[in-house]
């Protein structure tokens, strides 16, 4: 196990570093003059030099990268150019809100996906399978922003069951649960459909594997057999769920904008139009690193529950 953790860490670190380089480079080549956005369009040479020095813009790109990485590792994400407050303050407030939304959506995605996938794989009779399959295929085909608009028009505007947007009541500051339902489902249904499809495939593959066949030959009762199949399919389920939750982290951007949810996506969206480099950089970096760490955690979890993973043998999906 210790060897496995070390191995996975050695794989994860270069990827995390690569992610930071990609984020740094992409944001670095954003057209537009960050100095001009602070000082106006025609700053004096000395004022320009002072600002460039203050933000480290006068150093070579590679040096700037390592300065930046060092500061990031110490938790310093720089200062927002448009608001002149630490990026960390903006991001940490937004991350918490995004986690609330993503957490709710993850429950929808994984919970719904497992239920649908199980029905698709095991249900007796044709109709439940057909219905579950139809639900899965429909939900994975509808873009998250389309779902968002459909939900707002149906459940908020016409039926008035839920608020159209925001995270808390303006006056009481409560009722987060009521606000999270629509955006949660809007961002969770696509991954739910994908998880359902792939989980049912994993279940069927496990069910047709040799060791399940031998258990069946030994005369195990159907419920116990199903128990074994479900346990044997947990490892592929974790892999799928990990990848889909990453997808969810990305798709949440659209949903947050549509529902005016004050999270990371909303923050990045607003920073794009203001050309606020450090905030975009930090937002994308935090989300991408969360994805890397999430998948690292998934790999460790798989190793704990599945000895085949620990011993380096490929399993299923």
């Amino acid at each position: 196990m210790g060897r496995y953790v070390l191995l996975r860490t050695l794989v994860m670190l270069p990827i995390a570093l690569g992610v930071s380089i990609v984020v740094y480079v992409t944001v670095k080549i954003i057209p537009g003059d960050p100095v001009a956005s602070i000082l106006g369009s025609h700053p004096s040479a000395s004022a320009r030099a002072a600002v460039e020095h203050h933000y480290g813009l006068d150093k070579p790109a590679v040096v700037q990268y390592f300065y930046w990485l060092g500061r990031v590792l110490r938790g310093d994400l720089g200062e927002s150019i448009s608001l002149q407050v630490p990026v960390r303050t903006l991001v940490s407030a937004a991350v918490g809100n995004t986690l609330v939304l993503a957490g709710f959506a993850a429950v929808v995605a994984v919970g719904g996906g497992v239920i649908l996938g199980t029905i698709m794989a095991f249900a007796r009779g044709r109709s439940p399978r057909v219905v579950a399959n139809a639900v899965a295929v429909t939900s994975l085909s509808v873009p998250q922003y389309t779902l968002g608009v459909l939900f707002i028009v149906t459940f908020a505007v016409n039926l008035g069951w839920f608020p159209t947007g925001g995270m808390r009541d303006a006056i009481t500051g409560g009722a987060v649960l009521q606000h999270v339902v629509l955006p949660g489902f809007a961002s969770g249904l696509v991954p739910m459909g994908i998880i359902a499809r792939m989980y049912s495939a994993a279940l069927r593959e496990t069910a047709s594997s040799g060791w399940v066949e031998s258990l069946r030959a030994r005369g195990l009762s159907t419920p116990r057999l199903v128990g074994h199949i479900v346990y044997g399919s947990t490892s592929p389920l974790l892999t799928i769920a990990g990848l889909q939750l990453g997808y969810l982290l990305g798709g949440v951007v659209y949903v947050e904008v549509i529902f005016a949810w004050p999270g990371l996506g909303q923050l990045v969206y607003e920073s794009i139009s203001k050309r606020d480099l450090p905030v975009i950089q930090a937002g994308v970096l935090v989300a991408a690193l969360a994805f890397v760490i999430l998948n690292f955690g998934v790999d460790l979890l798989r190793a704990v529950i599945d000895p085949r993973v620990r011993k380096g043998r490929a399993v299923g999906v």
Partner: protein, 292 residues
């Protein structure tokens, strides 16, 4: 893995049989839908009853089914149906171009990685892993934000996003046939690397690639509209579905059609490509599970 059939002999046989077999009825239906979408994109501007950008403040926010405006008008009184028809062309373009370019680059990269030595293979695949570590939307936002707004830049961003998955698919398809007997016999008969790549490997890669890329077009349409929605692709007053959707956010209560119509249009066109991908998988006998 993504082999079509085990060895060369059965692959040839299988293909000849499937060519003679007639297409299934549901494939005809899906292909008909696809043809309609393409026709709308090509001839949409001719069918449009109004200009897509002519504002008519008197008749603003007319509902769906209003006289003269079948799908109503938006906040500036522009005809939504006309904007929808004009936008179809952009949408199809932003679906086809990034997937087309990234499938060429990705195939070249994947075949190179699959046929190169293990060190080069590892190098290419690890670099791709870094891009894989980004959720699609975020990578597109990062690249799109870096390049600045515009349809062309959005298509470049999406191309960057789609190269790694295509390359990975091709690499695994190559890996599946790498040890096969026909590869060995081609090598021992003195075929050059390039010839082996194009004549022996490529035919085994094409079927899964076509299926995957067809569905990818659907995703590309969705993401391109998403980038426009975020202000990273099309710019006002252009008729583009993502832009129309963003504009519609202001009129949820007064005229929900402004947001609903383009939202559903994106769904329908991406759905058509997803269904086409599903049908192609059936017709070409590609195992979908390996592609996702």
């Amino acid at each position: 893995m993504t082999t079509i059939s085990g060895s060369l002999g059965t692959a040839r046989l299988g293909r000849r049989v499937s060519r003679r077999r007639r297409l299934q009825p549901s494939t005809h239906v899906v292909l008909g839908l696809l043809a309609m979408l393409v026709l709308v994109a090509v001839f949409g501007p001719l069918l449009a009853p109004h200009s897509p950008i002519a504002a008519d403040p008197v008749h603003r926010l007319a509902g769906i089914g209003s006289p003269g405006h079948l799908l109503g008008t938006d906040g500036q009184g522009r005809d939504i149906l006309s904007r929808l028809l004009y936008g179809a062309r952009t949408s199809l373009l932003t679906g086809l171009v990034p997937v087309g370019i990234s499938s060429v680059i990705g195939t070249a990269l994947g075949m190179f990685a699959g046929l190169a030595g293990s060190k080069l293979n590892a190098l290419v695949m690890r670099v791709l892993d870094v891009f894989y570590a980004f959720p699609t939307v975020l990578l597109a936002i990062a690249v799109g934000a870096a390049l600045g707004p515009g349809i062309r830049n959005a298509m470049i961003a999406l191309t960057v996003v789609f190269v790694p998955p295509v390359a990975r698919l091709v690499e695994s398809a190559v890996a599946a046939v790498r040890g096969d007997d026909f590869m060995e016999s081609a090598r021992s008969s003195g075929a050059s690397r390039v010839r082996i790549a194009t004549r022996q490997v490529l035919p085994n890669v094409v079927a899964p690639l076509v299926v995957y890329c067809t569905s990818l077009i659907g995703l590309s349409i969705v993401e391109a509209a998403g980038l426009s929605f975020l202000g990273l692709a099309a710019t006002p007053p252009n008729a583009e579905w993502g832009l129309m959707l963003n504009d519609g956010r202001n009129y949820f209560f007064t005229n929900p059609g402004v947001a609903l119509v383009p939202a559903v249009a994106v769904l329908v066109s991406s759905l058509i490509f997803n269904l086409t991908g599903d049908r192609l998988a059936v017709e070409l006998q590609v195992d979908r599970k390996e592609l996702s």
